[in-house]
Subunit: 413 residues, 2 copies
């Protein structure tokens, strides 16, 4: 007997038939002798419908009130899922964020979970009920409704799994696992049986949309084994996200990620004196703009160039901020480019293998792709390139690092 | 400066334009120097949409879970109204049932309010904010979401007005006040300037759909002056529901109500021994079926007839229950009829005027309308008649009791 948290996304509860399907799965898992907590998202399309109502009223809606509106999507889902379980003679009780005390900070629309009260959930489980919990939402210390940002239901599920010390957390989604890269871009992409938390975090932060990065962070911190599975098919076991083990280190690169949602800003001729970088990035941080890659060239004639990337949604406001600062610090000018993409190779095996970055540069060079910025961490190497070459780069790297599926390799040889 | 509670129903917040209109009215009321609490219903159609989702899953949905689903309608409305006020440079904060602690009993889907915590509302008002409160919903002592039944937002508004000792409660609706009778049935119907709580309660319980009866009950108990007004027009002052005063007693009959939502059940040949009526009505009450009019004839040959009415929605199950009991108590048989209507005259003046009931019977007789059941209270007389004669009866009584509007009377003379 195990204690299992299952999470179903918007497409998995997209209509009444699918909601019944979720109910069936929950009951089946319980019948196998397990205690089941199920976390659900809003029915697909619902969050957008609600945001559309909000946008008809205000361009810059107050985030507290917007959260009040969008949190209703998950509330409808939990009621319907609980009713569907009951209609199949199962036992279920639904829980809203304020009912199982998912307490967050007060950063409306992207709040972070601080604590969860497991007591009510345990009480329901003890009565052999399936606890149906609203994803994405919480309350702050003052009882205001908060939401956790897009994909926040993943985080709810993992945080609950951590709070109740579940044996595992199963994330049901419309893909059947984590792939070596996006199968839409690279047909040779292969499903991974297993991947470490750290690799998964790199994937999540590099633009793969399988899991919200915060959910992987929490899973890693509390060592919650995380399954990514298809909610539409039982044929595949999915991908297990777990602690790194020996076998993983033998694989140098476990996957290729890409992200087209970046834009580049370059400040030319920046005076090479202390405090200049702080002025630029301080001004950006004041506007809550997150900077990703940063490169500073070696100074020449007392001047240097500073290049960095921001997400496309922050591009316009970042450009305005930087132009202001550039003038103030007497830089030569500001160049911008939103036709860029970040391509990355990820793998815990890099730690023990050398020459991985060099091989990446070589592969890109061979395809005639110019590298604009390079950034590395212990388990990943990222290159910013012109966005036109995204697919080409991903496919070339996928093949070069031996990730192509056996069938594809066989067919090619 | 006054403290005013305004309530807007579903049609008043039916789309984005109307929501903006509500925001405009709230701000205008505040600008006149008042503190404003606004209670809103779900956008029109929304509650039915949610109930339809529920009914696709279950014929007999668990009422706790159904409440979780339908309570979202008001939640969306308060967020949107608060955003609309803010978009017009007003200050607003929304409050859910659990946030301003609208504590109810645990009778899901028709809960009764036990207490309201005014503290958070006062805090918002002190900051010159408009407090936007979700109607229809509350929480029970265990923190479960509850709803107050159809029309429950009226009750929320009046209960809040009582809790914060508001100067008045304004119910904005799609009619512009309380009429002497349904203008759709009787073109000579006239809007009332003023009506007593007790009369309004009779009207509400007799099938006039202007206000939920529970809301009038609370208004009477806490002496909250209640205005019924149009949310679409400022041209008319609406109707004031308030304590009885001298002037009201001069009017013998203040209005005519009718209700087609009744059905009649007659048990023939009931043995005239103690405890028989208790058996019949006890069995009905076990099934939570509310009985309205009851008549028992004088016994003859040790047998009597027992006739009563129930609402049409309970008709089928009431019939089954009664047939079972009738067999057990050896009654002669059960007759049923759902082609009936209850027509009533209401007025506090009846207390001091005699002959009112006699006049009503005379008017109906003159129109050839047979009276099936008669029921009286201190301030009303109800007659059950064949439903075909509803409109005829209402119009004849309206004229006979001098309620026709001046224009109509003038035109006829």
């Amino acid at each position: 007997m195990a204690l299992i948290v299952q999470k179903y996304g918007g497409t998995s509860v997209g209509d009444i038939e699918r909601i019944k399907n979720v109910a069936r799965r929950c009951i089946a898992t319980q019948k196998e002798g397990n205690d089941v907590v199920v976390v659900v998202s809003a029915m697909s399309g619902e969050t957008n419908r609600l945001l559309n109502l909000v946008s008809q009223i205000s361009d810059r809606p107050n985030q507290r009130e917007q959260d009040v509106v969008v949190a209703t999507g998950e509330q409808v889902s939990i009621g319907l899922v609980a009713l569907a379980i009951q209609a199949m003679n199962g036992k279920a009780t639904s829980f809203l964020g304020h009912q199982c005390r998912v307490v967050t900070d007060s950063t409306f629309s992207k709040a972070r979970i601080k604590s969860i009260d497991a007591e009510k959930l345990f009480a329901a489980l003890k009565k052999k009920q399936i606890a149906v919990v609203a994803g994405f939402q919480g309350i702050d210390e003052d009882g205001n409704i908060t939401t956790l940002g897009r994909g926040g239901s993943d985080t709810t599920a993992v945080a609950i799994a951590a709070a109740i010390r579940a044996d595992c957390c199963e994330i049901y989604t419309d893909v059947d696992g984590v792939y070596t890269t996006d199968p839409n871009v690279c047909p040779a992409a292969r499903k991974l049986e297993k991947i470490s938390y750290e690799e998964m975090m790199e994937f999540a932060s590099l633009g793969a949309k399988v899991l919200q990065i915060r959910s992987v962070e929490i899973a890693m911190k509390y060592k919650v084994p995380l399954w990514v599975k298809s909610s539409f098919s039982d044929d595949y076991p999915g991908t297990l996200v777990c602690e790194e083990d020996r076998s993983m280190e033998d694989v140098v690169v476990s996957g290729i990620a890409y992200d087209r949602n970046e834009a580049k800003i370059a400040v030319r001729g920046v005076p090479d004196v202390p405090g200049v970088a702080a002025k630029i990035f301080g001004a950006l941080s004041e506007k809550a703009i997150v900077v990703d890659l940063i490169v500073q060239n070696v100074a020449k004639d007392g001047k240097t160039d500073l290049t960095f990337t921001v997400s496309k949604s922050d591009f316009a406001s970042a450009r305005d901020v930087v132009k202001g600062v550039a003038k103030a610090i007497k830089a030569d000018g500001v160049d911008t480019d939103d036709q860029v993409a970040k391509v990355s190779i990820v793998g815990v095996g890099m730690r023990t293998h050398s020459g991985v970055a060099a091989k990446m540069f070589e592969v890109l060079a061979k395809e005639g792709i110019n590298i604009q910025i390079i950034s590395t961490s212990e388990i990943k190497v990222s290159c910013l390139i012109h966005s036109n070459y995204t697919e080409l780069a991903v496919r070339a790297l996928h093949t070069a690092f031996g990730l192509d599926s056996v069938e594809t390799v066989a067919a090619a040889s």
